[in-house]
């Protein structure tokens, strides 16, 4: 083969290799940055965060995975992300819509509410027609082993915050769970509305949060799949300085 042909072949081969490398790099770096971070700002000294957990989701690749959604405070849209930011040193009021049914914890210690203001959560159940069921209760422990009562948890271990998220109660949820995500109160599914508050730390940084319920269906110990993917059941709470 002539010199130019050899040179051309070598350059082409090298560029192919580099191209593969760049594609790989862009693919996985890009995919991590595709998740939006929902920025919550304080108003009146408090910041209001809204999350929901669903029994399935609206993605095309893995529609059966359970997932969290985060609500954009300005557009009120439910975004399929688990990254949000709050200002430092502020009282954070969290509202979680629990649309998913119950699963027992692997370690029932996390049934106890820890790290919130007062170490309690308030729970109000709703039926599939968006009517309240019973009174709003204040719970310091939602026992996932005694009754069908906990859907997922919201835990920020670095802050000592461990909150069991109530599920729609058993009788209420028979064939009544929301089946089109992201669920809304009007979309026809029973849900539980849970609220709690905690103080965001004064030190800015990324604080990871996770669910402790083994809700990764089909995965060993229930801890695979959505449990180990950012944007589903694991995320970051970024604390930004005000």
């Amino acid at each position: 083969m002539s010199l130019t042909a050899r040179v051309a072949a070598l350059i082409v081969a090298f560029l192919c290799v580099v191209g593969v490398g760049v594609f790989v790099a862009v693919y996985y770096i890009g995919s991590a940055n595709q998740l939006p971070t929902v920025a919550y700002t304080a108003s009146g000294g408090v910041v209001n965060v809204a999350l929901q957990e669903d029994p399935q989701n609206n993605s095309t690749t893995t529609p059966d995975w359970v997932t969290y959604y985060t609500q954009d405070p300005t557009t009120k849209q439910w975004l399929h992300t688990t990254l949000f930011s709050v200002p430092a040193g502020t009282r954070v009021n969290v509202t979680i819509y629990g649309y998913d049914g119950c699963t027992p914890l692997r370690n029932n210690y996390w049934s106890k509410v820890q790290g919130t203001l007062g170490n309690v959560v308030t729970v109000q159940q709703f039926n599939k027609n968006n009517r309240p069921l019973g009174l709003t209760t204040t719970e310091s422990l939602i026992n996932s082993w005694a009754t069908c009562s906990v859907g997922h948890t919201f835990a920020i271990p670095d802050l000592g915050l461990y909150v069991p998220v109530a599920s729609p109660n058993a009788q209420n949820s028979v064939n009544n769970l929301c089946s089109n995500s992201p669920c809304t109160p009007a979309s026809g599914g029973a849900y539980s509305l849970e609220k709690f508050s905690f103080m965001s730390p004064s030190q800015p940084g990324s604080y990871r949060w996770q669910c402790l319920i083994p809700c990764g269906g089909g995965f060993l110990n229930g801890n695979g799949g959505p449990m180990q993917t950012l944007g589903w059941m694991a995320g970051f709470m970024n604390v930004v300085s005000t």
């Binding site: 670095d158 996770q210 990764g216 060993l220 694991a234």
Partner: protein, 329 residues
């Protein structure tokens, strides 16, 4: 394979020069080794990781210092020798001749083999002694440890006595929690410990393999599901420490940390009884499974059935509660 050497270069001067150079080499090596060993032992040893907070950490410090003192002359010897030969025996520019056809030297070979074997045997004996004496040197010894710590196994723990404090370390994806059987099996997310008390860690996992590594305590024990891995230590100084996970366990492995404090025994007892009382009062203790050395999270007596038989080992929403509680969407 002859071991003949070529005749020495002409003249006794060259031979004497070579002999002198070799003595200088040995002298330099000895001096450097002495300096290194002194620096290692007196300057570095007190600050060696993992510190001196516990007995196991102190023994590891000592162990590493002795290893370093053994290794330093070896490394320096090889480096000095190479420096010497690379300078003395380099080919001068334009010199195309061959080197001396030395195929071997039985005495040197024998001396080397014997020397290295002795060093290795010394290291083995020393390492074994250092493993046995501190009751396993803080490493996880499995469910039936051979080298146990001294102390009294008691149901309730009293400060100021030789009672061993039992702590169960539960690793799960992706957080640590600790149970104290001598305090009713209460569970905590912080690892508080009393100083000057023999401590037995029972490390287990609820899902995949983790590894319990409180670095400053000089303890490392893998957490395996359905396995009780025992490690011993005794804290000698108060202070706080961080527990890290040392075995890759999934997405949050790098962030699976936990805090702990070593405090005075009386303060510890106060804390532990307070937590026990609080958890008894608010129903946490009742919600926990009875204390056991290992747990099968799919067997929940309150639910009256074996979860495994229903759906398999995978987690799945809701199927565990029987026909009265179906929760499929």
């Amino acid at each position: 394979m002859s071991s003949a050497e070529i005749p020495l270069p002409a003249g006794r001067h060259a031979a004497e020069r070579e002999q002198r150079r070799i003595w200088w080499l040995v002298a330099v090596w000895l001096l450097l080794s002495l300096a290194a060993c002194l620096v290692i032992w007196f300057v570095w040893y007190p600050h060696l990781p993992p510190g001196d907070m516990t007995t196991s950490a102190r023994h590891q410090q000592f162990d590493i210092a002795v290893l370093a003192v053994t290794a330093a002359p070896v490394i320096l010897g090889v480096f000095c020798y190479f420096a010497y030969v690379l300078v003395v025996f380099r080919a001068r520019p334009g010199d195309d001749s061959d080197g001396a056809p030395i195929y071997g030297n039985a005495k040197i070979q024998a001396a080397w083999i014997i020397g290295t074997s002795m060093i290795v045997l010394w290291l083995f004996v020393f390492g074994t002694v250092e493993l046995i004496v501190p009751a396993g040197a803080g490493a996880g010894e499995g469910a039936s440890p051979i080298w146990k710590q001294s102390g009294a196994q008691t149901v309730a723990w009293t400060p100021g006595t030789n009672d061993i404090l039992q702590v169960q370390v539960i690793g799960q994806q992706w957080t640590w929690s600790y149970r104290y059987p001598q305090f009713g099996g209460m569970e905590s997310t912080v690892l508080d410990l009393p100083v000057n008390t023999p401590i037995t860690f029972h490390v287990t996992s609820l899902d995949v393999i983790h590894s319990f590594w409180p670095y400053l305590l000089g303890v490392k024990a893998d957490a395996n599901p359905q396995v009780d891995n025992v490690a011993y230590t005794t804290a000698r100084q108060t202070g706080s420490f961080i527990v890290r996970c040392n075995e890759l366990c999934g997405i949050w492995h790098g962030a699976m940390t936990s805090n702990g404090t070593v405090m005075t025994p009386v303060a510890f007892k106060v804390w532990a009884t307070a937590v026990q009382a609080r958890e008894k009062a608010n129903g946490t203790l009742a919600a926990l499974p009875p204390y056991a050395l290992t747990y099968d999270p799919t067997v929940i007596p309150q639910l009256g059935k074996d979860l495994v038989n229903v759906v398999g080992v995978t987690g799945a929403p809701g199927y565990f509660y029987g026909p009265g509680n179906p929760v499929t969407p």
